[in-house]
Symmetry: C2
Subunit: 215 residues, 2 copies
């Protein structure tokens, strides 16, 4: 399958690298096709991996992953040809973190709205599935880094899109995927990030994850 990974930071890099390792074709997108992180990655991950602009990446991918900084995601998506989003699954991995006031970061959208909902509302032609935004990027693509049972949350309005994403997540190694329901549930998962950042500081490692324990 062809994937467009929007964003060349740590999260985009981890996901794009994983997808290439699974035999998928990936175009990593950034503001310019001169982006150094993107070029370096493409050199190391060709020929399946290549790099381009956000617009080229969105046009290339059958499935898109939003790995941009959440505070700027909507601005990035507005630069795309909307036809390149039409009917496509858009996995929203981002959290709307505001680090401009230092750490711990706060959120630019929260409580009565979420980034996932904002994207779906502004781009109804895309099938937005919120996923992977509640753990570190190395854990995203290798959940076995955290031992034992732990959970991944997903939500979205389109059942078939969620099945596509669940299948991909199982290929990543995820065993317990909790489907919370429609995209408004992104409010709940994006709000896990403030505690996550505090736990990261406390533990001194990002190799941990949430699990919901129940009968």
């Amino acid at each position: 399958m062809r994937f467009g990974v929007l964003g060349t930071g740590m999260v985009g890099n981890a996901l794009a690298t994983k997808l290439v390792s699974m035999g998928h074709e990936v175009m990593m997108g950034s503001r310019t096709d001169e982006n150094e992180q993107g070029r370096t990655w493409a050199e190391q991950n060709g020929p399946l991996g290549r790099t381009g602009t956000f617009a080229q990446s969105a046009a290339f991918g059958e499935v898109l992953l939003n790995c941009t900084q959440g505070a700027f995601t909507l601005d990035v998506l507005r630069t795309l040809d909307r036809g390149d989003l039409s009917g496509k699954v858009l996995i929203d991995v981002a959290n709307p973190l505001d680090m401009s006031h230092g750490m711990p970061a706060t959120l630019t959208i929260c409580n009565t709205d979420s980034l996932g909902e904002s994207i779906q509302r502004e781009f109804p032609e895309a099938k937005v599935v919120k996923a992977l935004n509640t753990c570190n990027c190395q854990v995203m693509v290798d959940p076995g880094r955290v031992p034992g049972e732990h959970d991944l949350f997903i939500c979205g309005n389109d059942g078939k899109a969620k099945e596509t994403v669940k299948s991909l997540l199982r290929d990543f190694g995820w065993k317990s995927i909790i489907d919370l329901g429609d995209i408004t549930n992104a409010r709940g998962t994006e709000l896990l990030m403030p505690l996550w950042m505090r736990l990261w500081a406390l533990f001194g490692t990002p190799d941990f994850n949430y699990k919901i324990v129940r009968n």
Copy 2:
């Protein structure tokens, strides 16, 4: 020990009942000492359990538990004689939920502030410890309702106050207590509530809890 439990709702009832069952003296406080829930509870839980106004409860308790509705907590605390808070451990169990727009509830304070911090800032004479606000009230007082290992988060500025609270929580049956640090960490734990409410709706039971899985 003598406890003042502010609030006669489900949470206050569960905690006050548990404390009496452990042999502690408890005064449950509400707006008036005519409160029917408080009177019924005191009849069933006397002589160790009794009821009174918020002010009487705060004066009575050596340790206080805030079990009021979080959206109204500061208003309630402002009615107290501040001398009755001085030097006392105040366990803040509340979440600042706004249910006026229906369910799922949103938060009246979040992201750049929290209820726990707000209380500590306005009442520096109290030793505020945020705890127990991330699970259902029956689980708070009987963590064994949820099988296996799961976590309780606490935070606060005063180390001795946190030790007092940890000791009480261990008496309740809590085995894994994660001390997040100072009271600003209440932001993280109060933000777990939106996901908690969605999980409650999804599972159809409040008998679940968060666990942080790590190496």
